[in-house]
Amino acid sequence: MELDFELALRLLPLQLWNTIYMVALASFFGVLLGLPLGVVLAITDKGQIAPKPRLHKLLSTLVNIGRSFPFAILLVALIPFTRWIIGTSLGTNASIVPLTIAAAPFVARLVENSLKEVDRHIVEAARVMGSNAWQIVTKILLPEALPSILSGITLTLVNLIGNSAMVGLVGGGGLGQVAIQYGYNRFNAFIMITTVILLILLVQTVQWGGNYLVRSIAKKRGTLLYE
């Protein structure tokens, strides 16, 4: 195996940055869209604090549709929409749109599950103190579910790192594109290995960071199960 350090140095720093940039922004917007969506899904379901069956069914179906698309197909299907928002369908910035649209329904489901897991007796106690739905969401559900939600966001980030490998289709750059174009298409084993190592390190860092945050909250609240 030829140790193509020169090629690696020319390619990898920029593409590593592209991956981080894309994934960070797509996560941010994905959470911005997905979190409120998840809240609405959680509280409008049957037996929850503000049941609205028709609305819940509609949103749930939309989320399912979003989750059903294989990412590569989502990329292509969103081209007109991406063009409308960014002005072009190609490049790194344009890739953020389909990544966000892939992330949002995923975040919504995770948030919905996290909120539904909050002890219903606590919600009941809040109700009998005269809380309205907004107060229950902001003062009870979200704070109580915070560690769970943070775990979910960490999962989303890792998921997006995986999805970002496909954006080479639209010239989005990133480590995935390098791995496919040079590692796979041009059989450059050295590049392939270095990009995979970088991706592993990236995922490890994200996962570690997420775990650290969740642990420190649990420590503060004294809800850490294992030392």
Binding site: R10, R83, L90, V170, G171, N185
Partner: protein, 268 residues
């Protein structure tokens, strides 16, 4: 083996041959010839001569695919008898990497790669800091860069490098951004770039006409003629010889010229 077993064996073989037709070595009526091909124009050309082969007792089975790796793998694993989708540089690359034992049966046609644009009418109008999209797979990326070089838009470190990438551009006077994009995706994104290099098969699928719409085209000297590829040593097979004859006939030449009007040129 006792006497009763001996009589059983031919019956067994006949039964198997009847259930699995492929097991019989020669069906006296028709023999099958399986060819993997890209849809446009390769499969179309094969369809054209299918009746001619049928008259010779050869049933041509055409398996279409857009994938660039499957046809050679299928050929090597004897799932098909020939394929028709690639040019020689690509084939040689695949041979080097996968150690396939294959060769070109005949050069058939050339699809000149073209530069297309929805924004400008001539390559001289390329704006400063404009964007050009090119395919991101090794062979076609080099092909596009060589075409751009021939049109005087950029210069490469090694002017005849068939494995050039954007990293090998030595001169880019208009400071153009050369974006590497999946080859099949480029036609969809024409609106987003100032110009793009597109393979003819994808251009045709996107209803672009190389002769009318392209701002520039590869010429006949191009090393990228598409060939029918077969496994090494099989060139004297009668069905493959019939295929070669049909595909390089005058009838085929006329057909290509008439149907594709210069978008595709015969390479024989």
């Amino acid at each position: 083996m006792n006497r009763s077993n001996k009589r059983l064996l031919p019956i067994l073989f006949a039964a198997i041959a009847a259930i699995f037709p492929g097991c019989s070595s020669k069906n006296s009526a028709q023999s099958e010839l399986k060819v993997a091909a890209s849809p446009v124009p390769h499969a179309q050309l094969l369809e054209f001569i299918k009746p001619d082969l049928k008259a010779k007792g050869i049933e041509l089975v055409i398996i279409t695919t857009d994938d660039y790796n499957m046809p050679n793998r299928a050929l090597s694993e004897k799932e098909v008898d020939a394929n028709f989708f690639q040019h020689i540089p690509f084939m040689e690359e695949q041979i080097e990497q996968f150690h396939y034992k294959m060769e070109s049966l005949a050069k058939i046609e050339l699809e000149p790669m073209g530069i297309y644009s929805k924004k400008i009418g001539s390559l001289n109008d390329l704006p400063l800091n404009g964007v050009i999209a090119i395919p991101n797979d090794p062979t076609n990326e080099a092909r596009a860069l060589l075409l751009l070089q021939k049109q005087g838009i950029i210069e490469l470190d090694d002017a005849s490098d068939l494995t050039a990438t954007v990293l090998d551009i030595s001169s880019n006077p208009k400071n153009l951004k050369i974006l590497e994009v999946d080859a099949a995706m480029i036609p969809r994104s024409l609106n987003d770039v100032d110009a793009a290099a597109i393979n003819t098969n994808y251009a045709l699928e996107a209803r672009l006409s190389p002769s009318n719409d392209a701002l520039a085209l590869e010429d006949q000297d191009s090393p990228y003629a598409n060939v029918i590829a077969i496994r090494t040593g099989e060139e004297s097979r009668s069905d493959l010889e019939a295929l070669k004859e049909a595909m390089t006939s005058d009838k085929m030449r006329d057909y290509i010229n008439q149907k594709y009007k210069g978008a595709i040129i015969p390479a024989f």
